[in-house]
């Protein structure tokens, strides 16, 4: 799973089925070192349900110790713009639960 989280920042991990638009789940995990595979049905972690830009926002939020003011000044955006983005993310995560 850690591999998946790390990997998602380099490659776009699909979270929605391209065929029927339902949420995708993890079906197989594989060890790249020895080739051991774990097969089952696992839900994606909540953060993985966000798109790439939203995940980067969460990472930036953590890096700034949760300071929206600091984030706003770094991004050159106003405070309410950044706060709204966070509020929208919280709402999205709640709806995905």
């Amino acid at each position: 799973m850690l591999f998946l989280i790390k990997f998602s920042f380099y490659m776009k991990l699909p979270t929605i089925c391209p065929s029927c638009d339902a949420d995708l789940r993890v079906a197989k995990l594989e060890c790249l070192a020895c080739g051991t595979a774990v097969i089952g049905h696992y839900d994606l972690p909540p953060l993985m349900l966000l798109d790439r830009e939203e995940q980067e926002f969460v990472i930036r939020f953590l890096e700034n110790s949760g300071s929206l003011k600091e984030m706003a000044s770094q991004m050159g955006k106003s405070y309410p713009t950044v706060r709204n983005k966070l509020d929208d993310l919280i709402a999205k995560l709640k709806s995905k639960k």
Binding site: A72, S73, K77, S78, Y79, P80, T81, N84, D87
Partner: protein, 198 residues
């Protein structure tokens, strides 16, 4: 889209708080001086009327009133609709949106524009309702300034709505109607009460 276009379309998302506060404060000072230099009273949130005499400090007070009262009423509205709204954000929206009115004041109230519109007024007073005695260029200047003024008024409301919707994280269209209504109500209230000084 260029950065300048983005700023014109939505300055409240594309500028930092500090920049907006700085630009808004400089604009406030500029408008306060402009009011005294061009001798007019901004006796409403978006109204301007010429006067014969004005004290040096009237601009600071009058322009300040037009920032303070809309901020107060819009903040009350925003607090009702979205509890997390900060008064600083509302103040920045009003400070920044008012710049458009200062530009309108500059265009319409400068001695050159007023001299041209006075020519038209004098012609009407003399009974020339079809303005045949007015030079076409004078009419062109006055009509152009009027059209630009109207466009600026629309832009002022557009900025207020866009800014307030960000300040209160609004996604409902009906909130735009509320914002415009509150500003119109504040304008009428201030115009009738007239706390402005000359």
């Amino acid at each position: 889209m260029s950065r300048y276009s983005q700023i014109l379309i939505n300055p409240f998302a594309n500028l930092s708080d500090r920049t907006m506060l700085f630009v808004g404060s400089i604009a406030y000072l500029w408008a306060s001086v402009q009011v005294v230099l061009f001798r007019y009273v901004p006796d409403g949130v978006f109204q301007q009327h010429l006067v014969n005499k004005i004290s040096w400090y009237a601009g600071f007070v009058n322009v300040g009133i037009n920032i303070l009262f809309p901020t107060m009423f819009l903040w009350l509205l925003a607090k009702i609709l979205y509890n997390k709204t900060r008064w600083q954000d509302v103040l920045e929206v009003v400070l920044f949106s008012q710049i458009v009115n200062y530009i309108t004041g500059f265009l319409l109230m400068n001695p050159y524009s007023t001299s041209k519109s006075e020519v038209m007024l004098d012609a009407v007073k003399a009974g020339d309702m079809s303005l045949t005695t007015v030079a076409p260029f004078d009419m062109f200047v006055t009509v152009s300034a009027g059209i630009i003024g109207l466009a600026m008024l629309v832009y002022f409301f557009y900025l207020l709505v866009v800014g307030m919707k960000i300040a209160m994280n609004s996604k409902k269209r009906v909130h735009a109607v509320w914002i415009v209504l509150v500003v119109l109500m504040t304008d009428t209230l201030l115009h009738l009460w007239s706390p402005y000084i000359k």
